[in-house]
Amino acid sequence: MSLNLFQVLALIVLAALLVVTVVAAARGWASRREAAAWSALWLIAAIVVLWPGFLQAVARALGIGRGADLLLYCTVVVMMVGFLMVYVRLRRLRREMTLLVRHLAMRDAFVNPDRSRQA
């Protein structure tokens, strides 16, 4: 089996990504589960690069004309879900930040000295 230039370059990039993922997991930067998920993604990508017919076959089985179209649809769905997850997380983070800021403001409240002269 002879590889074309694109396949060679793509495989080099994917191999590098796999190495980075494994190293990250080994050094504890990413959890094992995360590392496994990313590794699976790189492996699937490698399979698709090596045997483009595989993607084509899956696309046809789903009633989509071309493998590239299937890839495009999947990308759109994944990105939209990703955006939603980031949005929800951002909201929670903002909420937590507000609670923290409120806690500090109440703890360090300035009380006017002339308050004591009244009442």
């Binding site: 929800v88 507000t98 800021v101 409120r102 403001a105 109440m106 409240a109 300035f110 006017n112 308050r115």
Partner: protein, 241 residues
């Protein structure tokens, strides 16, 4: 202090009200106006709480001249967040009434007593200022239409009939303030507040108040584009809470 101190409705500010009402002023970059607004409030009320919402100017320093308490948000969190901070602080300090008052000088201090009197008399737990029941000076017509639209929005989405949904002058009894929890940090809190008032099941009233539209308060107010952003923010908040 007994729980059932008497608050006559006739005299505007009794010594009890003077002491028991906490006035919350949320301020973001209000340096030019804040000192005067606070000084005026302090003449009638002992407990004026300024929440400086991470201002970049000298708002906090100027507030300290006259305010009873100044709380500072380390970073800007929005008016809704600032009001909630003030409300929680007031409750912690034993407030029996909590009033929200805008920092830009658009409200009249005299109107606070008008809002407090039905609450003190036990007629309601929440009093909301309405500029459309009262008179307003120099209201720009674009502002008038935007506010009318907001009232319509409130009727449809919040299912509450109000004449003025977005007035910063409001008064709460202690038990009403305890049930309020503003979670929408920015300006959409006004609609959220109405939802919570309705959900609390506590009686509320609208009281006519007068708004002074000065060149300063108009500049500091909402633009129409800002209003659209607020609506979107509020609706997203309903979906993703």
């Amino acid at each position: 202090m007994t729980r059932d101190a008497v608050y006559p409705t006739t005299s505007p500010i009794t010594p009890n009200l003077r002491r028991d009402a906490f006035i919350i002023v949320a301020a973001y970059n209000e340096g030019p106006a804040i000192a005067e607004v606070i000084a005026e409030l302090r003449r009638d009320y002992d407990n004026v709480v300024v929440v400086d919402d991470g201002s970049n100017d000298d708002t906090a320093d100027r507030a300290r001249l006259h305010a009873t308490y100044v709380l500072s948000h380390a970073v800007n969190r929005g008016q809704g967040a600032a009001l909630q901070t003030g409300i929680e602080f007031a409750l912690e300090r034993g407030a029996r009434f909590v009033v929200t008052f805008d920092a830009d000088g658009q409200h009249r201090v005299e109107d606070i007593a008008a809002l407090l009197s039905p609450i003190a008399a036990g007629e309601c737990d929440i009093a909301l200022g309405s500029r459309f029941l009262g008179q307003s000076e120099n209201m720009p017509s674009a502002r008038r239409w935007a506010l009318k639209l907001a009232v319509f929005f409130t009727r449809v989405v919040n299912r509450v009939r109000l004449t003025d949904a977005h007035n910063g002058l409001r008064a709460f009894s202690r038990r009403a303030a305890e049930r309020i929890n503003i979670t929408l940090d920015r300006m959409a809190h006004a609609s959220e507040l109405i939802d919570q008032i309705r959900a609390s099941g506590l009686p509320f009233q609208e009281v006519p108040v007068r708004i002074r539209y000065t060149e300063y308060s108009i500049r500091k107010g909402q633009s129409t584009r800002g209003a659209i952003r607020i609506v979107i923010h509020y609706l997203l908040g309903k979906v993703f809470q």
